[in-house]
Symmetry: C2
Subunit: 776 residues, 2 copies
C-alpha cells in the first residue's frame, strides 16, 4: 500500500516527482475516450522506469504461444493487447543536449488528473546536467467529442539561458510489448508521410492485419506569436516519422507547441482511406483548436458527471476514490460501439489480454443499468447473444453436444482467446454469470420481451452445458461437478466448487422458468425458439429437474458453512492475519503450487454466490459464511472487496464494509495489491460503484420495485447518488439524520425505503430518518 498521492475531491494530484513510483503514476493518470487511451508517459524522453503504453480499441495480436505439451481442445491463440504507436512524443534538444527527464533535477513537479474536465496536466521545473533550467507545462486529453483525436498543449520556457532549441514532435510505431518474448515487435509499417508540420504513419498488426493510421499536426508559438517560417528537418525510419524544428530561444520567453494527434483504425475506416481520413481528421482538429476542444471536453464531462456522480461529503479519500472509479470506467467504455466491451485493464496496460471477461456481466452491468440508457445494458447482453454460435462451437471443441454453449473466459470476437486449461476449460462459472446478467437486466428493467427476443436462446445453450458438465456419482448417489476452477482462482481443478454447483442449478431452473414464460406469453416466439434450438422441452426439462433436485453441495454442517469445494477442510486453515508481511501479496511472493495448497482465497467465492442469491439465504447463514471465509481472503483479485462491502453492510458488519470500501475504491490510488504499475483494474471499478449504491445505499430491485436501505459510514457527512429506474431518475441523499429520495423525472415511482413502500410523485421527495439497517 502506498499513499503518495494528494487527496482532493475532483483531482488526482502527485506533488514532487517520485521516479520509483513512476509506473504506478503512469497507470493512475491514464486518459482515454472509449476508442483509444494511454498511460501517463511523458512527452519528453525519459530513460528511467517507465511502461510506455498507447492502446487502440479492438486491436490485438493472436499470440500462438504454446506451452510444453499441447492438449487437445486448447484455443488457437492468446489475444495480446498491443501497445500501439506513441503519438505524444516531443523531443527537446538544447544546444545539442537531448532533454531526458531521468537525468535532470526536477523541482515543483505536479501532475494533475482533472476528472471533472477530463484532462491531464503536468508542470515542473527541470535543470539539465549542464545546468540549463526550464519550466514545463504540459496539458493533454483524449477527446470524447472527437474520439479519434488527442491534443497536447506543451509549453516550455527557458529560465536561465538563451540559445538553440530543436523541437521534434514525432509518431513512433517502433514500439513493443513488455510481455513480448525476446522483444518481438508486432507492427509492420504500411506507409508514411512527412510534411513540414505534419507526419503520418500507417502500420499493420502482424497476423490480425488491423491497420492503424497515426498522424500528428503541430503548431509552434514563441513569445505568443505563431512561428510560420520554420523549415523542419523531416525524418523517417521504419515505423517512425518526425519533424525537427530549430528555434532560437530566449530566457523567460515561452514556447508553446500544440500537437494534435489522431488514431484511425481499419475497424472504422477502409484501409485505403486511412491516411487521407487521418489527414482530414487532423485538419478539422486544428481548425477547432486546442482551447475549443478542451472546452467541449469539459462540457461533455459535465454532462457525464451529472448522470453518474456520487457525492460523498466529509471523507475526501472516499470521495476521490469513487470519482476516480467512475471517471476511469467512463473513459474506458462509452456503450456507443456494440463491437467493444470492457477490458480488465481498459487502456491503461497490456496485462491479461483480450477484452471481454465475466467481469462485464457480474460487475459492470449494474453500473450501466443504473447510470445509462437501458440500451447500453441491453447492448452488453446482445453482445453475448451474437456470440452464441461461437459459444456452441467452443463447447463442441470440448466434446459437448446438442447445442450446449460455453462462453469463452476471455474473448475479442466470441472465440476463446486465453490459453490456460485450468481457466478456459474449467473456470466455467462464467457461463452462470452470463445467464445471471439476463436475469439481472430483466429484474431491473422489467423488459421481459428480452427473453423471447434473445435471452431464452442463450439460457438454453447454457443450461444444456451444465446438464452435460455434471455427472451422477454412484458413490455419492448425487450429481457432482468435477474439475472446475471457481471465482477463487487460487484453487484450480477442484471438485464440487459450491458456487459453480449452485449457479449451475440456478441456471437450469431459470432457463426452464424463462422458456415457460415465453411459451405462455408469446406462442410464436416459442415456436421459433423450439425450432431454432431444437428444444425437446419435456425430455430436457426432466433431465434438468432431476439434476436440480439431486445436486450435491459440499457443506460443513458443524460450522454451518458451505464448503468452497471438496476437501477444503483438509487444508491448513489459518487467517490472513497469520501471514508475514513478506508473504504478501501472495501472487508475487509465493509459487503457484503453494498458493493452490493454501487456504487463502483470492476473491469471494462462496460469498459471491451468497451475494448473487442473497434473497435465498438468511442473514445468519450469510454471516457464518462471511466470518468463516473473509478472514482467509487476501482480496488479491480487484473483484473481491466490493462483494464484501455489499454483504458486510447487509449483515451489519459496518467497519468491515467501510474498510473494504476503501480498499476497492482506492485499490489503484493506494496500490493495495502492488500491481497498479501494470495498469488499472477497470472492471472492478464498477464493483466500487456497486459497493456504494448496493452496499451503503442498500439498493436492490425485485418484485418490479426499487428498494433502498441506506447506511452512512461513520466517517461520512453525507452521500448522494442518482439512479435511473424504469424511465425515471431518483436522487438519493443520505445524511446522519435524514434520507431524502427525490424523483427527478416526469413520472411517479413506487419505491421501498427501509422496507416501507412509498409512491413518489414526479419532482417530489420523501424524507425519512436515517436508520441502521436491521440485522436479523
Amino acid at each position: 500500500m502506498k499513499q503518495y498521492l494528494k487527496q482532493d475531491e475532483w483531482c488526482i494530484i502527485e506533488e514532487g516527482f517520485k521516479p520509483e513510483y513512476n509506473e504506478i503514476s503512469e497507470s493512475v493518470f491514464s486518459i482515454g475516450n472509449g476508442r483509444m487511451g494511454q498511460r501517463a508517459n511523458f512527452e519528453e524522453r525519459y530513460s528511467g522506469k517507465s511502461l510506455q503504453g498507447n492502446y487502440v480499441a479492438g486491436v490485438y495480436y493472436p499470440d500462438k504461444t504454446r506451452v510444453g505439451w499441447w492438449k487437445n481442445g486448447y484455443p488457437e491463440y492468446f489475444a495480446k493487447v498491443l501497445n500501439a504507436a506513441n503519438w505524444i512524443g516531443i523531443d527537446i534538444e538544447l544546444d545539442g543536449e537531448m532533454l531526458d527527464l531521468a537525468t535532470c533535477k526536477i523541482s515543483d513537479f505536479r501532475r494533475v488528473l482533472n476528472m471533472r474536465e477530463g484532462y491531464l496536466l503536468r508542470t515542473c521545473t527541470v535543470t539539465t546536467p549542464t545546468g540549463k533550467t526550464l519550466k514545463i507545462n504540459a496539458q493533454r486529453f483524449c477527446s470524447i467529442v472527437d474520439d479519434e483525436v488527442g491534443a497536447i498543449c506543451y509549453s516550455i520556457t527557458p529560465v536561465n539561458f538563451s540559445g538553440k532549441m530543436v523541437v521534434t514532435p514525432y509518431v513512433d510505431a517502433d514500439v513493443k510489448n513488455r510481455d513480448a518474448n525476446y522483444d518481438e515487435k508486432f507492427w509492420i509499417e504500411i506507409s508514411k508521410l512527412v510534411r513540414n508540420s505534419q507526419a503520418y504513419l500507417v502500420a499493420e498488426t502482424k497476423k490480425t492485419g488491423f491497420q492503424v493510421a497515426t498522424g500528428m499536426l503541430f503548431q509552434i508559438f514563441q513569445g505568443g506569436k505563431e512561428e510560420n517560417e520554420f523549415v523542419a528537418t523531416r525524418r523517417k525510419r521504419e515505423n517512425f516519422v518526425s519533424c525537427s524544428v530549430p528555434l532560437t530561444v530566449k530566457a523567460k520567453e515561452e514556447i508553446i507547441i500544440y500537437k494534435y494527434a489522431a488514431n484511425l483504425s481499419s475497424e472504422n475506416h477502409p484501409k485505403e482511406n486511412l491516411l487521407k481520413n487521418c489527414q482530414n481528421v487532423l485538419k478539422n482538429a486544428q481548425k477547432k483548436g486546442f482551447d475549443k476542444m478542451l472546452l467541449e471536453q469539459a462540457e461533455c464531462w459535465k454532462a457525464k458527471w451529472a448522470k453518474s456522480d456520487i457525492i460523498i461529503e466529509g471523507d475526501v479519500a472516499a470521495q476521490q476514490g469513487i470519482r476516480f472509479n467512475i471517471f476511469q470506467l467512463t473513459q474506458t467504455y462509452t456503450g456507443e460501439d456494440e463491437r467493444l466491451n470492457i477490458g480488465p485493464k481498459g487502456f491503461t496496460g497490456e496485462k491479461y489480454g483480450g477484452s471481454t471477461y465475466w467481469d462485464t456481466e457480474a460487475y459492470c452491468l449494474p453500473f450501466y443499468l443504473v447510470n445509462a440508457n437501458e440500451k447500453v445494458a441491453r447492448n452488453l447482453l446482445i453482445y453475448r447473444h451474437k456470440q452464441l454460435q461461437k459459444a456452441i462451437e467452443n463447447a463442441q471443441k470440448l466434446g459437448f453436444t446438442d447445442g450446449a454453449a460455453l462462453y469463452p473466459m476471455v474473448t475479442m470476437n466470441g472465440e476463446e482467446c486465453h490459453n490456460e486449461w485450468e481457466i478456459t476449460f474449467e473456470e466455467i462459472h462464467r457461463n452462470g454469470a452470463i445467464a445471471y446478467a439476463i436475469h439481472d437486466y430483466i429484474r431491473y428493467t422489467g423488459d421481459k420481451t428480452y427473453l423471447a427476443e434473445y435471452g431464452a436462446e442463450v439460457l438454453i445453450g447454457i443450461a444444456r452445458f451444465w446438464a452435460q458438465r455434471v455427472h451422477f456419482s454412484a458413490h455419492k448417489q448425487q450429481y457432482v461437478m468435477h474439475g472446475v476452477t471457481g471465482p477463487n482462482e487460487y484453487e484450480n481443478n477442484v471438485n464440487n466448487n459450491w458456487y459453480t454447483n449452485y449457479i449451475a442449478v440456478w441456471c437450469m431452473e431459470y432457463a426452464m422458468e424463462s422458456i415457460q414464460f415465453v411459451q405462455k406469453n408469446d406462442t410464436e416466439s416459442y415456436k421459433t425458439l423450439v425450432t431454432k434450438t431444437n428444444l425437446n422441452a419435456s425430455k430436457e426439462f426432466a433431465k434438468w429437474e432431476h439434476i436440480c433436485k439431486n445436486m450435491y453441495f459440499p457443506e460443513d454442517t458443524k460450522r454451518g458453512v458451505f464448503l468452497q469445494q471438496d476437501g477444503f477442510l483438509d487444508k491448513d486453515l489459518m487467517p490472513v492475519s497469520a501471514l508475514r508481511v513478506v508473504d504478501k501479496p501472495l501472487n508475487q511472493k509465493w509459487s503457484w503450487d503453494r498458493i493452490l495448497r493454501s487456504c487463502f482465497i483470492k476473491q469471494a467465492d462462496v460469498l459471491q454466490g451468497l451475494y448473487f442469491f442473497e434473497e435465498r439465504f438468511d442473514n445468519d447463514t450469510i454471516r457464518r459464511n462471511f466470518e468463516f471465509y473473509e478472514p482467509m481472503t487476501v482480496h488479491e483479485s480487484s473483484l473481491s472487496p466490493c462483494v464484501h462491502v455489499i454483504l458486510g453492510a447487509k449483515i451489519g458488519l459496518f467497519d468491515k464494509a467501510y474498510q473494504m470500501y476503501l480498499r476497492t475504491s482506492r485499490l489503484d490510488l493506494d496500490d493495495y495489491n502492488n500491481d497498479t504499475e501494470d495498469g488499472l483494474h477497470i472492471t472492478s471499478m464498477a464493483g466500487t460503484w456497486m459497493a456504494v449504491v448496493k452496499g451503503f445505499g442498500g439498493m436492490r430491485v425485485y418484485d418490479d420495485k426499487v428498494h433502498f436501505a441506506p447506511y452512512l459510514p461513520e466517517a461520512w457527512k453525507s452521500m448522494t447518488f442518482k439512479a435511473r429506474f424504469r424511465g425515471g431518475v431518483l436522487e438519493m441523499n443520505v445524511t446522519k439524520e435524514h434520507v431524502t429520495v427525490k424523483n427527478m423525472g416526469e413520472k411517479a415511482i413506487d419505491l421501498s425505503l427501509y422496507g416501507e413502500m412509498h409512491l413518489l410523485e414526479a419532482h417530489k421527495s420523501v424524507v425519512l430518518s436515517t436508520q441502521v439497517p436491521v440485522t436479523e
Copy 2:
C-alpha cells in the same frame, strides 16, 4: 494400431511405399549413434507428408513462451529440441525435371532397418511424371565408431532413358521445427565454405549460442569409375550450401554418390576450430571409405548385441519387438558422455523437449545395470548428484528452505526447463524416483560406498523436500499432501495421490537408514556430510519419523484397494472397454478437462508403487489393485504397459502380461498410440526390456543375491538373455521344459532359481524344469 511392417527377427522392413504412413516410417527407421541421429527422411526431394528431423545431442533452444497469466516461480523457458541441419539431402534433376518422389510412381519399394549391423537401406524403382524410370538404392548409417560422421551410399540407375542428370548434394540449416510458432527459425548462419565436392556450414542456435558445423564431402562413380573431372556449380544462400554436378547418364549405367557428412558441436570443439575440424573429420572419413566404415559399424554392433541381445524363439513379432527396443535405446545413449542423458524421443522427433526425465531413473537405469559396465549406471546417478545444487535452487524458487531439493521434471542442465505448473510444480513424484534409483543401484551392485560419496547428500535434500511438502491436517489428524500430479498425468492437482504419498514416506525412511549407515560405517564421511548439508539429525529425523508414522493413505477398505487420490470413487467409474473406438486415443480425441474428469488412467499410478515396493505387498493386494485399475487404464503413456507385464506375470495373469508385452515391445512398430509419427518412445524401450527380464525372467535382486523365476509365454519356444551381476555374467535360457542358467564369467555366483539357492561356479550351468510361478 497399424501393422504394415514386415516381421523379421533382425530387420524392420517396409515393402511397398505407404505415403500415408511415411511419417511413422520416418520415426521407426530412425538411425543414430548417441551423439547425433535422424529420422528416415529421403535423400531426394519429397513434397509429401514428412517430418524432417536431424538432431545433435545437447543442442536446444530456450523457448520463453509465456502462457497468459504468468505465475510466480514459473521456469524461465521451455527447452526445445531443435531440428538441426539436413545433411542427407541429394537433389536429382533429370533433363531439367527435379525428382520429387511424391510426384513419382514408386514400385518395388523396400525400406530396411538392419538392426544387426546398424544401417538403413532403401531400394525402389520410380517413374517420373514425364515417364523416366530410375532404380534407386540408398544406404546410410550414423557411425558409432566415428561418431561425428554419417555416411551415405546413394545409387541411381536410369532404366529407360539416357540424358542429362544434375546431382546436387547439399547441407541445409535453413530448417525449422514443426512446433515453432509462426514458423520461427532457430539457426543463425555463422560461416560457410563451398568447394567443388565439399561444402560446410557453421550455424549457431539463437539465445543458447551452440554452434554446429555440418559438412559434406562427396564422390561420384559412374559405371564403376570415379568422376574426377566434374566442375560443380557451387551454391550458397543463407544457411544453405550445395554443389551441383552435371552428368551425362546412360540407360542401365549406375551412378553412385558417396556422401560423407559430419556434425561437430561446440560442446566438443572450440568454436574457432569447428570448420577446420569438420574438414579434417571428413577427410579421414573419406580416406577410410564407406565400405570400411560400414564394416566397422557391423563389428561394433556385433559386440553390442553380444552383451544385450534377447533371443526369443517361436515368436517373430516378439523377437523383432524386443530387438527394436534394444537397438533404438542403444542408438540413443551410449553412456560415454556424462553430460548427456536419455531424451524421451531420443533423436527421432522434436516432441516433449528437454533431455532428462524421471524415465531415466525409473525405467532406464535397470537396463544399464544389467547390460553395461557398473560405471554407466553410476554415471547416470552422478548426473543428478552434480545437479543437486540446482535442485535446491529449484525448490527455493518454490518457497522451500533449508536445503530441500526438488529435481526438475525436465532438464538439459539441472534447471527446470518445462513450463506447465501442473507438471513442474506438482508432478513431484519424480523426486522419489531419483531416490529410488540410488536404492536400486546399491541393491543391484552392492556398492554401498556410493552413499557416503554421493547418495546420502541427494537423499537428504529429497527427504527435506517431502517433509516440507506435506502438511498436518487438523481435520484428518494426519499428514496429507495436496496439489500433486501423480504418474497418471490424466489427473492434475489432486490431493493425496497414493503413489506420491507412499514414495514420499519411503524416501524419508530410506534417507534415515542411509544416513545412519554412513554414520556407522564411515565416520569421516558422515562428518563431512553433516557439515555440507547442515544436517541436524536428531531434530530432522524426529520430524521425518512423525510424518512417516502419521501419513494419510487413501484407501477403499471395502474393495481392498488403495485409492489413486482423494475423491477417486466419486468419478463415473467404467472400463476402457466401454469407450467407443472413436474416443481413442483419449489424448487425441477428448478435451483436456474431459480427460481429467474421467476415471481413465494414462499410466500405472497405484500399480507403479506396487511395482517399486512389491516386497511390501502380498500377491492378493497386488491382484486386487491390478484388477481394479488396469481395466480403467488406457496406457497412453508408453511407460505404462511394462509395469503391467511385470506385475501381471508376478500374480499369474499371464495372458494380460503377454498382451501388455506385445503392446510395449511393438508400441512404435504397430503405432499403438497413434503418435509414432512424432518420434519413438525411447525411454519406454527400457521398460520393454524390463518386461522380458523382470516380467518373464522374474529377475529380482535383493539380499545381495540375484533371483530368477522365469515364465515362458505360451507363444514362445525359448527365451535367452544375459545379465551382468557383481562382476560376472549370467546367461538365462528358458524353454518349455528347462531353465538353464550359465555362469559365463570367471567367478562363482550365488543365485536363486524359483526360490531355491544355487552356487553357480564359473563356466558352469544349472538346469531346472520350467515352472509356472506360484501365485499365492
